[in-house]
């Protein structure tokens, strides 16, 4: 790239050097790439931790790691996957796509954008070094419940500050996205013409700025409880550890929608393209997404049905939880209706999107089972919960991220990816992920507790099956890396539109798009507006 500065191209500026471009650059496309690559690296770090967990659980007894380390693996795996993989990947997609989708030259606050990204590696260094500290990494679970969390050794302040930094990063990113969409749309790009991915992200961004600070408050209280003598959660000093759970889940439930709404957005772009039909029920999709986000602030206590709430509270949170299934059902229905009588083709992005719809629904149903208060008394803190959130997060959020990556890779790199390898990646992942997580439903119903390195012998068979699924799933992900590297290096030339059925401003640009696009706003006609 550095020689490019000597040549003349249609831009009037110098091409920045490597350091200048990747470390100090503010170009939304480059920052998007950084986010996505970071997320991919973290995916393998978090994945390695999952492999340790599945290895230890392959058979009963303690064979490979001691319990303290095992628990720090489950804790770190969750923190890495949530804050290091799913959230940054979603922000990466937003950075790349939102300006191109709304016809803007860049994000509204490019400098802030650079900061939002570069805080992340710093925060994760803080978090990951704790594994090498005396006493090991945090092992009290990603939910950080006191008093257990307060027994963390030297790692404690590192974890708290890492969470603070991650919070700063995502709040800044969210503010940037809202400011971009509200102020930088091309003329004629009205709100109701925005692609659904953009809509999903505006709503996610509002969830982020409203909920992440509550988490920051909760962990700050933990910090002062441990070091500065406050007793927010210390019963001996008049506090209440259960209050932490309320504050945490007030953040925590909106957080799960922060993880899934961008995924909904991606799937809503992919399915119409490969069905060669406009999205069914565009407006109802927007309202359903907003409704889900709004309602997510009133259901938090379904994570704590068993702490001893008054009956009225249990009932309220049960019915509120159940009612979220209504707008979620609307979305599932609309995706299916979009495919209905479409002229469907099943390229890799579409395969991942269709698998998303089916498998995410399984996670939704197990969620409904967990939302039934009396049933949750049985399921709570068992592998059933683990199965539930992995269906919504892995076959849900992560599959949608794969769909998006395959969908937009040709646009980003200018090359078609290797479709055969992509299909292999899809089929291996889809089969193994079900071998991995479906048996965990049975384990949970049979009573196997979560976050335990050892278990009773009657759980052995399904744990072995699950572990084998886990190893195959883990290995299959290497295929994705191969596909991405190949696609960056070369391959069949991608057209502007890439996919026959793709509509929207981003597909009017060359593949790959030049560094600066839409410096003069495009004309928005109905045919280029949302698909």
């Amino acid at each position: 790239m550095s020689e490019a500065a000597i040549h003349h191209d249609d831009h009037h500026e110098h091409h920045p050097g490597f350091i200048q471009r990747w470390f100090f650059g503010t170009n939304h496309k480059d920052i998007g790439t950084l986010y996505l690559l970071f997320s991919l690296v973290m995916f393998f770090i978090g994945g390695a931790m999952a492999m340790v967990i599945r290895l230890e659980l392959f058979q009963p007894g303690l064979q490979f790691v001691d319990p303290q380390f095992f628990n720090s693996m489950t804790t770190m795996h969750a923190l890495v996957m949530i804050f290091g993989v799913v959230m940054p990947a979603a922000v990466g997609f937003a950075n790349w796509m939102i300006p191109m989708m709304i016809g803007a030259p860049d994000m509204a606050l490019p400098r802030l954008n650079n900061w939002s990204f570069w805080i992340l590696p710093f925060a994760f260094t803080l978090l990951l070094v704790t594994l090498f500290l005396p006493g090991g990494g945090p092992a009290g679970g990603w939910t950080m419940y006191p008093p257990l969390m307060l027994q963390t050794g030297d790692a404690f302040p590192f974890v708290i500050f890492a969470v603070h930094f991650l919070g700063f990063s995502s709040v800044m990113g969210a503010i940037n996205i809202i400011a971009t969409v509200f102020n930088m749309r091309a003329p004629g790009m009205t709100f109701m013409k925005l692609p659904l991915f953009v809509w999903a992200w505006i709503i996610t961004a509002f969830l982020l700025i409203a909920s992440i600070p509550v988490l920051a408050g909760a962990v700050t209280m933990l910090l002062t409880d441990k070091y500065f003598g406050t007793s927010f959660f210390d019963a001996a000093g008049g506090g209440d550890p259960v209050m932490f759970q309320h504050i945490f889940w007030f953040f925590g439930h909106p957080e799960v929608y922060i993880l899934i709404l961008p995924a909904f957005g991606i799937v809503s772009q992919v399915i119409p393209t490969f069905s060669r039909k406009p999205l069914f029920g565009y407006e109802s999709m927007v309202y359903a997404t907003a409704a889900i986000a709004f309602m997510s602030f009133f259901v938090w206590a379904h994570h704590m049905f068993t702490v001893g709430m008054p009956l009225a509270g249990e009932l309220f949170f049960m019915y509120a939880t159940m009612s979220i299934a209504v707008p979620t059902g609307v979305k599932i229905f609309n995706w299916l209706a979009t495919m209905w009588r479409g002229s469907l083709t099943f390229e890799t992005p579409m395969l991942f999107a269709v698998a998303f719809v089916l498998l995410f629904s399984i996670g939704g149903f197990s969620g409904l089972m967990l939302g039934i208060t009396p049933a949750d008394f049985q399921y709570h803190d068992t592998y059933f919960v683990v199965a539930h959130f992995h269906y919504v997060l892995v076959t849900g959020a992560v599959f949608a991220l794969f769909a998006g990556a395959y969908y937009w890779l040709p646009k980003w790199t200018g090359h078609m990816y290797n479709e055969t390898l992509g299909k292999w990646h899809f089929w291996l992942s889809t089969i193994s992920v079900n071998v991995l997580f479906f048996p965990q439903h049975f384990l949970g119903l049979a009573g196997m507790p979560r976050r335990i390195p050892d278990y009773a012998v009657q759980f052995t068979e399904w744990n072995m099956v699950s572990s084998i699924g886990g190893f195959v799933f883990g290995l299959s992900q290497l295929l994705f890396v191969v596909v991405v590297i190949q696609c960056i290096r070369g391959g069949a030339k991608a057209t502007n539109q890439v996919w026959e059925g793709a509509h929207g401003l981003e597909w009017t640009l060359p593949s790959p798009p030049p560094a600066h696009t839409f410096t003069t706003p495009p004309k928005v006609t109905d045919s280029v507006a949302h698909s």
Partner: protein, 196 residues
């Protein structure tokens, strides 16, 4: 349309996270109010005096099964027991329960008891005339202390409540030993680490 407008909007938006950070802290007093109203966490229990209890107000038609739970928090080396087993009482009558706590270590330790009531709803109907809870107890090595607790349950107690459990937990409040306890967990970590 411009980046300038974007900056202005971003500054306004930044107020939301600031406010929500504050809201996180505001949940703490809100939680207290909520607990006081519902009686969660034993918050509804009232203080009263023996002469405020009207002997004629005893409802002999009802019996409530009372149970007393005792526990100590963490590794506090105190033996804490209830001397009163399960009792059946009448709403409106003054009752007494006895507890005994013994310091089984060779150090002087300060502790404090925290109580809770189950079902939470019952706590609003519970009044205590005498309790050892919330006052610090200092026990010399081997010292044993008997502690009475007197209470009355209001006759308005909802009919569906047939039994009430009072639970007491002793927490250590002395700091001198706190360091030692912390040190011990460090040693445990080291031990756990060396096994791997």
């Amino acid at each position: 349309m411009s980046a300038n407008q974007g900056k202005k909007m971003a500054l306004k938006l930044a107020l939301i996270p600031v406010a929500m950070f504050g809201f996180g802290y505001a949940l703490v007093p809100l939680y207290d109010v909520f607990c006081d109203l519902t009686g969660l966490g034993g918050r509804g229990v009232q203080q009263t005096t023996a002469d405020q209890i009207d002997p004629a107000g005893v409802d002999r038609s009802r019996q409530i099964k009372m149970e007393y739970l005792t526990s100590t928090n963490g590794d506090l080396p105190w033996a804490f027991k209830s001397l009163t087993g399960t009792t059946r009482i009448h709403p409106g009558a003054l009752n007494e329960a006895h507890f005994v706590v013994e310091n089984t270590s060779d150090e002087t330790i300060v502790g404090r008891a925290i109580y809770n009531v189950s079902p939470a709803e019952a706590s609003i109907y519970l009044s205590k005339t005498e309790c050892f809870c919330y006052t610090e107890q200092t026990l010399e090595p081997g010292e044993k202390l008997e502690m009475p607790m007197r209470f009355v349950i209001d006759t308005e107690l909802p009919r569906k409540i047939k039994g009430v459990t009072l639970s007491y937990t002793f927490f250590e409040t002395s700091d001198s030993r706190g360091d030692k306890a912390a040190k011990k967990t460090d040693d445990e970590h080291a031990e756990a680490g060396s096994r791997s």
